[in-house]
């Protein structure tokens, strides 16, 4: 007992030493690598120019309020499109997983839709929708560039998110459906109360992932004319011949996407823990 305990103490001490050494090595390596990169940057022949054209505090201060006003449009658009996508995508996914023969044409359409809109770059869809629909002679609120841009984004992201939902629905074991039917639920009730809730809970991390992508891609709406953050930055950059406003815009996008990324990490860790519990009894 005493010998085993002594060995254990020694083992733990060794483990601690190793951990301390690891920390020191990591710290030194970080200082060397990042410090080296910083030195390289600062000593580059063009650093003074770059500092003036990309990191000008005066330009940053001057352009930031404008860019922030543009970013507000991004935020509103993002929230509205995200809600539409979450609902529409679930509809598309449900159509694709149900087996009713009468729904075959709808299923076919849904398959073609997801294939095509996942395959075409978002910027192309936004461009084609934004200039194509008004060219048809459509007038009124739907011809508004912000609405059209949001519609284009929703088309693309509904396709992505529908596939995420479908993977979630497919991952629910068939026995869940059998069990639900066995206790007297109808097919529709089984889907609504048993399968969809489990599927949605499983795909929360990838859904948040698509959230982040969407938040960035909102900037693409700028090609249709609205003055959102990226466009405002571009306008300011072109008027002063200084790229710093882009930095201001980048920081604003980061202010939303980095917290979202942390939430995703947290959710994924939670999902792993939960799955760990279900696999090992």
């Amino acid at each position: 007992m005493t010998t085993a305990s002594a060995r254990r103490v020694a083992r733990e001490a060794a483990r601690r030493r190793r951990a301390r050494r690891g920390t020191v090595v990591a710290a030194v390596s970080t200082v060397v690598v990042l410090g080296g990169l910083a030195l390289l940057l600062v000593n580059a022949p063009g650093w003074d120019d770059v500092r003036e054209t990309f990191f000008s505090w005066d330009v940053f201060r001057e352009s930031f309020p404008d860019v922030l006003r543009g970013f507000w449009l991004d935020v509103k658009l993002f929230v509205v499109v995200e809600v539409i996508v979450l609902v529409a995508a679930l509809g598309v996914a449900l159509v694709r997983v149900t087996g009713a023969p009468a729904l075959f044409p709808v299923r076919l359409l849904a398959t073609v839709y997801t294939d095509v809109l996942r395959g075409v770059p978002v910027i192309l869809v936004v461009y084609l929708v934004g200039f194509g629909i008004p060219a048809l002679g459509v007038r009124g609120w739907f011809a508004d560039p912000v609405v059209l841009g949001g519609f284009g984004l929703a088309l693309c992201y509904t396709a992505y998110v529908a596939e995420v939902y479908r993977a979630g629905l497919d991952s629910v074991h068939p026995s869940q459906r059998s069990a639900a039917l066995a206790v007297g639920l109808t097919e529709r009730q089984a889907m609504r109360f048993v399968i969809v809730p489990q599927a949605v809970r499983r795909v929360v991390p990838p859904l948040l992932n698509d959230f982040i992508s969407l938040q960035k891609d909102v900037a693409l709406v700028s090609i249709l004319g609205p003055q959102e953050a990226f466009r405002v930055a571009q306008i300011n950059a072109a008027s002063d011949f200084n790229y710093t406003p882009f930095l201001a815009a980048a920081l604003l996008y980061l202010a939303v996407t980095v917290p979202l990324a942390r939430i995703v990490d947290h959710q994924q860790a939670r999902a792993r823990r939960r799955q760990g519990h279900t696999v090992t009894p």
Partner: protein
């Protein structure tokens, strides 16, 4: 392990912050020495420091379109800016066959670092802010802004900028037209800003905007070539005038030479003749009040 990760994150933050602070540190390098004396003596051809030996490299964007260039070919000497460029080259002592053209997109013409052109001519308006990043020659043209609408539209009969207040206005990004619209017209809805000329034109054709505001030569070109059934409602002068200059690298030794070449062209009347030949058309002045 977790502690180590946190430490690394903290160190990374410190490293980034120190670079950023160094970036914000001293902004006192505003070299006011950019206005070198316009002496022609140092502009002997043999003394010029050029991007490529024995040839003058001139940049412009592609596609190059009328009335500035003809047939998307800057080398033919036809079109307003092509003609001006060759006239400046001649002033510097270069024969037409000693001129090389480089494709320089507008947005990279002002990128820091060495330039791959000796000078760039691309309808670039001179502003004090831009002059902080690049050198400008003496202006070779001063353009008014013009308003282009679909013929027969609600705004086609406008005779003053006040009548354009409620129009949805489209402009191209990176042009001074946006400033002109905001400060002179002051529209009731925010102007729509498009990536390039094509999108701006498309928006007018689609009815997404009621009017396009652009410089006068471009408006004339769009009316005559691009948008059937459009008309130039009128022109108005942009605040402080809109002077175009050729762009050179910041503190380029070539700047005074190009400027004196432009001045010589103006004094000899050749510049006026070139302008008249390629941008002769007229549009009514809009009432500013």
């Amino acid at each position: 392990m977790r502690r180590a990760r946190r430490l690394i994150a903290a160190l990374a933050l410190v490293a980034v912050a120190s670079v950023a602070l160094a970036a914000c540190g001293d902004d006192d390098d505003t070299s006011a020495a950019s206005t070198a004396a316009t002496t022609a003596t140092a502009c002997e051809r043999s003394d010029l420091d050029l991007v490529a030996d024995d040839t003058l490299t001139i940049g412009t964007d592609s596609p190059a379109f009328p009335p500035y260039f003809v047939d998307d070919d800057p080398t033919n000497g036809e079109g307003f800016e092509s003609a001006v460029a060759y006239a400046i080259a001649a002033g510097l002592g270069f024969a037409p066959d000693e001129v090389t053209w480089a494709v320089v997109p507008f947005n990279s013409s002002y990128a820091p670092g060495p330039k791959d052109f000796d000078f760039d001519i691309n309808q670039i308006s001179i502003t004090p802010e831009r002059a902080g990043q690049v050198d400008f020659s003496e202006p070779y043209y001063t353009t008014p802004q013009a308003v282009l609408v679909a013929a027969g539209s609600d705004y086609a009969g406008a005779t003053s900028v006040a009548e354009l207040k409620d129009a949805k206005i489209g402009v191209q990004v990176g042009t001074t037209s946006l400033d002109a619209v905001t400060s002179v017209i002051g529209p009731s809805s925010e102007p729509q800003v498009f990536n390039d000329s094509n999108d701006t034109v498309r928006a007018l054709k689609n009815g997404q905007v009621d009017a396009i505001v652009t410089d006068l030569p471009t408006a004339i070109y769009l009316r005559d070539v691009e948008i059937e059934g459009s008309e130039v409602v009128g022109q108005f002068s942009a605040p402080g005038g809109d002077d175009w200059g050729v762009v050179l690298a910041k503190d380029s030794a070539l700047t005074p030479c190009v400027s004196s070449a432009v001045s010589a062209l103006r004094e000899s009347g050749e510049l006026a003749a070139i302008t008249e030949q390629w941008i002769g058309a007229e549009a009514p002045e809009l009432d500013l009040e």
